[in-house]
């Protein structure tokens, strides 16, 4: 049951994490609008999200209970690296010059999309509780 819940909300989890990381980068861009030689950063959202979702497919769909040390698990668990490390390695876009208007619009846009995802999560919870109540 908990495994299913986890799978159900995996997509929303990824989106929220990515959005909040992007929000951080955009806030840093706005804060440094006056700093000489500052290079504004952004993330390649769709590619980063695709990568995260692919990682989910590789994870084992079900697990066997191991009662002895000699039992062999189905697949070896690999520890997922943190989002920020993964994204920082591949999906950071560097821009040459800062444009305050673009940054502000992106910031507001990103915050609305974040709140939209939260509403989706709440709706999913409502659906689940409705089903449980019958």
């Amino acid at each position: 049951m908990l495994n299913k819940l986890d799978k159900e909300f995996y997509f929303n989890k990824c989106v929220l994490n990515l959005r909040s990381y992007r929000q951080e980068l955009l806030a840093s861009n706005i804060a440094n609008s006056d700093t000489p030689n500052y290079q504004p950063l952004d993330i390649d959202f769709s590619k980063a999200l695709n990568e995260l979702l692919k990682k989910n497919d590789k994870q084992p769909q079900f697990q066997l209970t191991l009662t002895s040390k000699k039992h062999i698990p189905i697949t070896q668990h690999k520890k997922l690296e943190s989002y920020e490390e993964m994204i920082a390695k591949k999906y950071i876009i560097k821009k040459d010059k800062i444009n305050m208007d673009v940054e502000k619009v992106n910031f507001i846009n990103n915050s609305l999309l974040y709140q939209m995802d939260i509403i989706f999560i709440n709706n999913k919870f409502k659906n689940l509780t409705n089903v449980l109540k019958g």
Partner: protein, 136 residues
């Protein structure tokens, strides 16, 4: 949680920008001042603030900090003013290199940046409040 980090980023930017506004106000206020250095009177030299990107422990995002305060290198103007205490034997005296137009515009720009960061704070606050409603 990275949303809470944004509070620090916006906070540092607001501190830096308000310090900048303070500097411009001080430049404008002291446009006619004389400064006493080593027993000699000099006209007031305009000051400038250099901002720096502040990313401690090697993360991508970061706030702002004031790196240093430097003297404006614009040359001093010389006017004919024999009554001025620092006038030379021919009656010419140097006056401060504060440029009123530049200072005013830079002060307005700093105040706009301050407002932008305040808005960032408000947006983040509403995002965090929304996050706390998950599952209610």
């Amino acid at each position: 949680m990275s949303l809470l980090k944004i509070f620090d980023i916006a906070n540092s930017a607001m501190i830096a920008q308000s310090q900048k506004m303070q500097m411009h106000a001080s430049n404008l206020a002291n446009i006619d001042s004389l400064v006493n250095t080593n027993g000699k009177l000099h006209p007031y030299i305009a000051k400038k603030i250099i901002l720096k990107f502040d990313n401690s422990n090697d993360v991508r995002s970061g706030g702002v900090k004031v790196e240093k305060i430097i003297d404006d290198t614009t040359p001093l103007k010389v006017i004919y003013d024999p009554n001025n205490p620092i006038a030379n034997s021919k009656g010419f005296s140097e006056i401060s290199n504060v440029n009123v137009v530049t200072e005013t515009i830079n002060a307005i720009s700093a105040s706009r940046n301050y407002q932008a960061n305040l808005e960032v704070l408000n947006t983040i606050k509403s995002m965090i409040m929304k996050t706390l409603t998950i599952g209610q």
